[in-house]
Amino acid sequence: MKTNLIRRKLSDGFLQFLTLFSSLLAVGVLTALFYYIFANGLSLMNTDLLRNDYWSVSKIVAFDETVNQPGLYPRPQDLDESVAWSEKWGIGFVDYLSHEKKQLVLIETVAADSPLQSAFDTSAGAAQGKPVALSAGLQVEKIDFSQAAGTADFTGMLASATAAEVAQTLDQQAVKLTSIFIKTPGGGIRGSIITTAYLILVSLLIALPIGIASAVYLSEMAKKNRINMLIRTGIETLTGVPSIVYGLMGVSVLFPITALMGAKTTNILLGALTMAIILLPTIIRSTEEALLVVPKGLRDASLSLGASQTQTIFKITLPCAMPGILSGILLSIGRVVGESAALIYTMGTFINDKPGLLKQGTSLAVHIWSVMSGEQPNFELACAISIMILIFVLILNIAVKFLTRRLQKSWH
């Protein structure tokens, strides 16, 4: 008897420990994931990341001959201590450590009356001769100048100079600036954010009306017969199809549609169309569930007032199901943000800073894939984008919870 009791206690204890351990493991994994991503990506999280292009553009600028001489430009009062100011040329530089741990010299500010305001583009191309604003954040690769003796010299990052050294060299040696080689900052994800927004918008625009309409048909109008059972089973099966298969279908079946509209490569519209198809089952399911929750009494009341079935659906049932439908929309947005496999096929992996519907581009998730698949994977940037996706999805989930609670509250 006694040994039995001990044995039972032991086995109970073991099973209890097992359940607790499992749930702790799940939480632990999540915590570790968050820690890893935040530890690596947080240093990159700033407005520049959201604002900047991914590809940096190089330019060589020259200056108007008539003003190209040193003057006296006093250091602005409100300028930060860390800025190195060139009094003779009226320009301030700062040191900056890039996420690739590269020492950069950036332009911080240029005096309003400085000769550097007359900068124009000398690089070949459409923009040649056009004025260039030397705005804050531009990388100073190389500054060519002439010295008093007429000899040429240069300073800047290519000369391994710091901001202070660049300012000092300019003040002490330069009598005329030949050219400045500048580089716009890269590594930003502005293009991918825009692409993601395009994707969400277009795919929802297509999937929502179709999805809601078919949900209404299935749950409100369809009689229980074999064809409708078949349709329902079909939709349920669609939910389980891996997205990469949808991607294949997108490339082979949907591409001709976008080609008709003038697309020459895989493109964002194609990605959005494919996404719309992936979203359809989700939207249909969530709308159907939302419609189910609407009390029968409301439908009866509407019908008893002489409303037709269609009027009842569109004036009463659908509006009442709105919170549920909305949470379906939010879930769909989450799905679009998280999708990568189907989009790699259909939109390509070229990070496009100026995305358009019929051009290639990357969503945030594909952007991660893109920066990680190169020869030098960029962990920091990938983690920074992951933070953005995580936060976005977290907000969506909280919104869904909130809406679900609203929905339950309004009926019970």
């Binding site: 009494g297 008893s304 007032l305 002489g306 409303a307 009027q311 309004s410």
Partner: protein, 251 residues
């Protein structure tokens, strides 16, 4: 006495199961007809036959005729939507739409294509006054109807039915979810409404039936056992089963 509904040999089946058996009943115009009987006896089912709400139930089959003012509502040519504008219904649980009080009342007329603001205003005011609700809500017509109390919600549902200017108002245990004070108000209202409308009310409360109705029909197991003037039914029932039920021996 003018006839409103004339029910002739009505049978209703749920699949194989016969729920209503050979019903014959005459409901007088501008009178209150109470349908009483134990739970599951078919009185609510019968009520829903009067505005063809049973049409929506799959597997439900109906034979026989119901004439509303000389017109068979189960005729092939009958427009069900049109019928329901003539036969309004109030349900057991107050079920206002989750919209403003005004929109609740205006819902029916709007579905019929009434768009004119002035006309809708009139309809809303008149209906709320008829349902004795106007004074209580006139300052908050555009607030949500869900914020009203249960009794107010039920009167709103009556007002909503009245807005269609129906011939008949069907009431399916309209006070079973309400407290005694709200119940008294609804009963008072029924007294008022019968001047204009025919009312068919399903009730579980014998007292309510005796208080508000002119005629009473006693249902048992899908059949009408007895129908007569309410006074007669409650004082001198002809059938033993009726007597047993109203004296509380079963049900």
């Amino acid at each position: 006495m003018e006839t409103c509904f004339e029910v002739k040999d009505l049978n209703l089946y749920y699949g194989e199961n016969q729920a209503l058996k050979h019903l014959n009943l005459t409901i007088g115009r501008n009178r209150v007809m109470a349908l009483i009987g134990p739970s599951g006896c078919g009185k609510s089912t019968f009520l829903r036959c009067l505005n063809r709400m049973n049409d929506l139930i799959e597997n439900c089959r109906i034979t026989g005729e119901i004439h509303l003012l000389e017109q068979n509502i189960y005729d092939q040519k009958m427009n069900v939507v049109q019928l329901r504008t003539k036969v309004g219904m109030v349900f057991q649980k107050p079920n206002p739409f989750p919209m403003s009080i005004y929109d609740n009342i205006a819902y029916g007329p709007r579905c019929q294509g009434v768009k004119e603001k002035k006309l809708l205003n009139q309809i809303v005011e008149r209906s709320l006054k008829s349902a004795a609700l106007y004074e209580e809500v006139k300052d908050r017509l555009h607030d949500s109807a869900m914020a009203l109390s249960g009794g107010q919600q039920q009167r709103l549902c009556i007002a909503r039915a009245i807005a269609m200017e129906p011939e008949v108002i069907l009431m399916d245990e309209p006070t079973s979810a309400l407290d005694p004070i709200a119940t008294a108000k609804i009963e008072e209202l029924i007294e008022q409404l019968k001047k204009t409308y025919t009312i068919v009310i399903v009730t579980h409360s014998m007292q309510q039936a005796s208080r508000v109705s002119d005629d009473t029909a006693f249902f048992l197991l899908g059949e009408i056992v007895e129908t007569d003037k309410t006074l007669t039914i409650f004082s001198k029932p002809k059938d033993k089963r009726t007597e047993d039920y109203i004296s509380g021996r079963f049900g």
